[in-house]
């Protein structure tokens, strides 16, 4: 189980990086970056997990029940929010790049400057 949880995080991180390096489209780069970032969600949640523990919401379980770590879950929430805003700014940059260079292919952008 340990191998699977951390392996998924590592896999998402590296697969996203491969996507960024191979991408021929800035939108694709942004999407691959969000794949990289999603590896951090998996990693954080995997670290805070306790076997047999409940979700850290005491609305319907008695207090004192063992729960998984709420701090990493709050961190993951922060992570998701920051990822969404970063994506918005990067997409805005992609729009500007397309306006200036007439292409979204990162390889052709430098060539077209002039």
């Amino acid at each position: 189980m340990t191998l699977l949880a951390y392996g998924v995080a590592a896999w998402l991180f590296l697969a996203g990086l491969v996507g960024i390096v191979r991408s021929r489209n800035l939108i694709g780069v942004v999407i691959c970056l969000s794949v990289v970032q999603s590896s951090t969600y998996v990693l954080l949640l995997a670290i805070g997990y306790r076997s047999g523990a409940k979700a850290p919401i005491f609305a319907d379980i008695p207090s004192g029940t063992p729960v998984v770590d709420p701090v990493v879950q709050a961190l993951t929430l922060t992570d998701v929010v920051v990822e969404a805003t970063v994506t918005a700014v990067l997409l805005a940059l992609a729009v500007q790049a397309h306006k200036r260079f007439g292409t979204l292919d990162p390889d052709r952008m430098g060539v077209m400057r002039g």
Binding site: Q73, V81, V89
Partner: protein, 252 residues
């Protein structure tokens, strides 16, 4: 650098990175065997100290509220960055004479009916998610996104939205700023009434499980909800305006 050379350099780096990650992950606690004390203490005190049942929200808006304040400012800054990046640039082709002709592809009656039917329920769900942040899964960030979705549904249903040129939607800008300022003001209220910035105890505890419980956590959630909803509407409006109001330059 050619494409294949770049891939070879990346492959070498990626192998090294994978090895480092494997080494690092090997030193982490086994999956399911986490023994950190901080989270356990936070989970224990949420109920007795603040009458909050959602310990994740309790962490985000009370124990680590300063982090959330910074996070709010990240959202705030990102929305402004998007507006700054997407504004009408000098030298860009002028907008169409009659923006409405460009802006309004004909909305199908089915879309209008579904949009109109969804707008009310979506608003209620958004407010519900925001209001119960201290009790059950949800809170300002999640509810704020749903609230922004309401605006999207209304626009999709064909409400006439006239965007003044080069200006983000005023009302969304307003609640965007109001939410960010509200969070800081609620933090200052903690400083004044409870002796510490972002201390949430000044608002009273309430009954565990009741709508008004968890001190100032529900208020902070409302501020966050407004801020997030405003930010997302501003960002979406800017992107929509790009496609709908600026005349496409012919591909060269």
């Amino acid at each position: 650098m050619s494409r294949s050379a770049r891939l070879i350099v990346f492959a070498a780096g990626a192998v090294g990175l994978a090895a480092l990650m494997a080494w690092g992950f090997a030193g982490l606690p086994d999956f399911g065997g986490y023994t950190g004390r901080y989270g356990r203490i936070v989970a224990q005190i949420a109920g007795p100290d603040r009458a909050a049942t959602n310990t994740v929200t309790f962490t985000a808006f009370d124990v680590r509220a300063v982090d959330t304040l910074v996070e709010e400012f990240i959202v705030f800054a990102a929305a402004i960055a998007a507006v700054a990046l997407l504004r009408h640039q000098r030298g860009e082709p002028e907008r169409a004479e009659h923006p409405d002709d460009v802006l309004r592809p004909r909305t199908s009656p089915a879309l209008m009916v579904v949009g109109a039917a969804l707008a009310g329920p979506t608003t209620v769900i958004a407010l519900n998610v925001i209001a119960h942040g201290a009790l059950t899964p949800g809170g300002g960030f999640q509810g704020g996104v749903v609230l922004a979705a309401t605006a999207v549904v209304i626009v999709a249903a064909g409400a006439r939205v006239r965007l003044p040129p080069d200006e983000p939607p005023r009302f969304a800008e307003f609640i965007h700023g109001l939410g960010a300022a509200g969070f800081v003001l609620l933090g200052l209220a903690g400083l004044v009434f409870a002796g510490a910035f972002l201390n949430t105890t000044w608002a009273g505890h309430g009954t565990t499980g009741a709508l008004l419980s968890g001190g100032a956590i529900p208020l902070l959630n409302v501020a966050t909800g407004l801020e997030v909803a405003g930010a997302i509407i501003v960002i979406l409006a800017e992107f929509l305006e790009q496609n709908m109001l600026v005349v496409e330059e012919p591909e060269s």
